[in-house]
């Protein structure tokens, strides 16, 4: 093994993820409880997927804003549509945030790997679709994650390529269940987050969150924990029969 490692590099021979690496706490109790690591799993690639408008982008940016208060973070904007001002609106620190706007998917993956190796601890990759990138780039990204104990989260999209899916540590399904209204205005989004697939724990757990937008009340913007989902709610979620609800604030 050592000879192979010396000859072809550390990437070719490596052990599985370190189970003791722990997690990166988000500070949102229900969300942290979804992971056995009590936080976003370090050294692994995670995916928060969902339909367009499900809230995965907002959730990702709100998480990025929380992390940017204490860690260097990066957002890889594959669609070049994200407004980094949202990070500031969610109470984040833009001074700790690097924004990458790649021209090609390969550039985005390579940038994420380089920035994680350089010291970025939380890397958010946002795209509405995830085209195939081959096997090497996801493998190298995961190797960089394991080496740096960083966290990488893919946000958005209904599907991911098979070669990426094989590298995912946890898949979270995001679903919008309603809007939060204030004085007749849409002031936030209600969403449910389910563990669709996990390499670290049995899937099936879920939580409900509310993300308050920065407009019209910028001071309250951020994630609000609405608690874990009960078994009956979870069964509704899995059959996808729960109608969209409008919840007054």
């Amino acid at each position: 093994m050592a000879a192979l490692g010396r000859r072809y590099g550390r990437v070719v021979v490596r052990a599985g993820g370190n189970p003791n690496q722990g997690g990166l706490r988000t500070g949102i109790g229900s969300l942290d409880a979804l992971f056995t690591t009590a936080g976003l799993p370090r050294g692994r690639l995670s995916w928060i997927g969902g339909e367009a408008g499900a809230g995965s982008f907002d959730l990702g940016l709100a998480l990025l804003a929380r992390m940017s208060l204490s860690l260097p973070v990066a957002v890889i904007d594959f669609d070049r549509k994200v407004d980094p001002g949202d990070v500031e609106d969610y109470g984040g620190e833009l001074g700790n945030c690097w924004v990458v706007r790649p021209r090609t998917t390969q550039q985005g993956w390579a940038s994420a790997r380089s920035l994680l190796q350089a010291g970025v601890e939380f890397c958010l990759m946002l795209a509405t679709q995830w085209p195939s990138v081959g096997r090497a780039l996801p493998a190298l990204l995961v190797a960089a994650l394991e080496e740096s104990s960083g966290v990488a989260v893919m946000g958005g999209g209904l599907t991911v390529p098979l070669e990426v899916r094989g590298r995912l540590g946890i898949e979270l399904s995001c679903r919008r269940v309603g809007w939060s209204l204030a004085h007749g205005d849409v002031a936030g989004i209600l969403l449910q987050l389910l563990v669709a697939r996990s390499r670290m724990s049995p899937p099936g757990m879920g939580c409900e969150l509310r993300i308050d937008f920065s407009r019209p009340y910028p001071k309250t913007a951020g994630i609000v924990d609405l608690g874990m989902l009960s078994s009956s709610e979870l069964s509704d979620c899995t059959t996808l029969t729960t109608p969209l609800a409008v919840v007054a604030r």
Binding site: Y8, P72, E93, L94, V99, V100, R103
Partner: protein, 410 residues
């Protein structure tokens, strides 16, 4: 002493000061301080004009102290890139006169004028040409001294004055140095103090004392003093020589044709090269990749040779550690289109590793410098519009992202 040893010392104004005078000719006779940043981040005086030195400023002084000493002095910032260019021009002019050149400081050089050169019939013609060449490059007249040793050449240069050449022939050294004050000899201050206590004020006074008496009073410094007064110091010049190449070589078990496979070994090569650079305390400004297949001939390798892949890359900043070396090495491997049996990576343009002081008090600041360097490498690889830093414009910029945010390259 070898009769062939003839050394020249050329003294001139500091290069930083010369550049300042070029930009501001009106400051030629004014007090000027040229500041630079030391490795620990302090501002220091790199060059001071004669007027500023007369008021108490000196080279190497803390910039704030120098400003207190001469508050009316004009303060300028040194331009290291232009200084490098001027240094190169000066070095080229000096190599015209002698193959052995020592650029001691930015205001003094030594040359070996020993032996004969067909271009100049006499030493006087050669040293005059030397002075004219330096004046042509710098635009200010240098003072040139020629003697049988470093010390004699230095004293001759000091006595010559700007625009003049002072040559000290053999046999006349003792007379030449007789009035040179002991306070200006390269001796420890305590020794100089003792000499002055004995009433010995000049080299002429010292040379009249027998060597055993000097050694009895001053120990080893006595012998040094005796030799200096006779112009017999044995220090020669240390000419600049190109450093031996620094590189790593890896012989593979078999021919590899896939560049992706080659990249797997890049990390190990980067670590080995980093260890070699660390031993020398240097960083590399340029990396060269050589891939040789079984058809490549043994011996000296050239780019045009069959069976040789030859490529070079210049990282955005000098690289020294394995983490810094790996990205450019990977870039080189990505460009490789060749069968490879042997991999060689050479570190070229060795320089001082860049010194940075991370803002440790800021959140994540210790890593910001590393991330910034990684962003610079990504920008070099994929284009400048890839990694961005964003900040919110001050005031009330509104909600439109184009007006609200200020984007700057990462």
């Amino acid at each position: 002493m070898n009769q062939q040893v003839r050394l020249a010392c050329v003294s001139f104004s500091h290069l930083a000061l010369i550049l300042a005078w070029r930009d501001h000719p009106e400051l030629t006779s004014e007090a000027v301080l040229v500041g630079s940043c030391s490795r620990d981040g302090r501002g220091i005086v790199l060059a001071a004009s004669a007027a500023a030195q007369a008021m108490g400023a000196h080279i190497g002084q803390d910039l704030r102290q120098a400003e207190l000493a001469c508050p009316e002095a004009v303060r300028l910032r040194a331009d290291p890139i232009r200084m490098d260019q001027l240094r190169e021009q000066l070095r080229a002019a000096l190599y015209e006169c002698s193959p052995l050149v020592e650029l001691t400081t930015d205001s003094q050089v030594y040359l070996d004028l020993g032996g004969r050169d067909a271009r100049w019939a006499t030493e006087a013609a050669r040293s005059a040409h030397l002075g004219r060449s330096v004046q042509q490059v710098l635009g200010v007249p240098p003072s040139v001294g020629v003697g049988q040793s470093r010390f004699v050449a230095l004293v001759a240069s000091s006595k010559a004055g700007p625009g003049r050449v002072r040559r000290v022939p053999y046999g006349a050294v003792a007379d030449f140095l007789s009035d040179w004050p002991v306070s200006m000899l390269p001796l420890p201050p305590r020794t100089v103090e003792r000499l002055q206590g004995f009433g010995l004020q000049s080299c002429g006074d010292c040379i009249s004392i027998p060597l055993p008496d000097l050694q009895r009073q001053l120990g080893a410094d006595g012998l040094t003093l005796h030799r200096l007064c006779l112009g017999q110091d044995s220090a020669l010049i240390s000419p600049w020589r190109e450093a031996p190449p620094c590189g790593v070589r890896r012989v593979l078990a078999g021919v590899v044709e896939d560049s992706e496979s080659l990249r797997f070994g890049a990390a190990e090569l980067a670590e080995r090269l980093a260890a070699k650079l660390s031993c020398r305390g240097r960083a590399s400004g340029r990396l060269r990749l050589l891939l040789l297949d079984e058809d490549a001939a043994e011996g000296v390798v050239t780019a045009a040779q069959p069976g040789v892949f030859w490529d070079e890359i210049e990282p955005p900043a000098p690289v020294a550690t394995a983490e810094e070396l790996l990205p450019p090495i990977l870039s080189l491997f990505a460009r490789a289109r060749c069968r490879a049996l042997v991999i060689e990576i050479h570190a070229l343009d060795l320089t001082q590793p860049p010194a940075t002081q991370s803002p440790l008090w800021a959140v994540g600041g210790a890593r910001s410098a590393d991330i910034g360097r990684a962003a610079a490498r990504l920008a070099q690889r994929f284009g400048p519009e890839l990694v961005w830093r964003v900040e919110v414009r001050a005031g009330h910029p509104g909600d439109i992202p184009e007006e609200r945010l200020v984007w700057s390259p990462g």
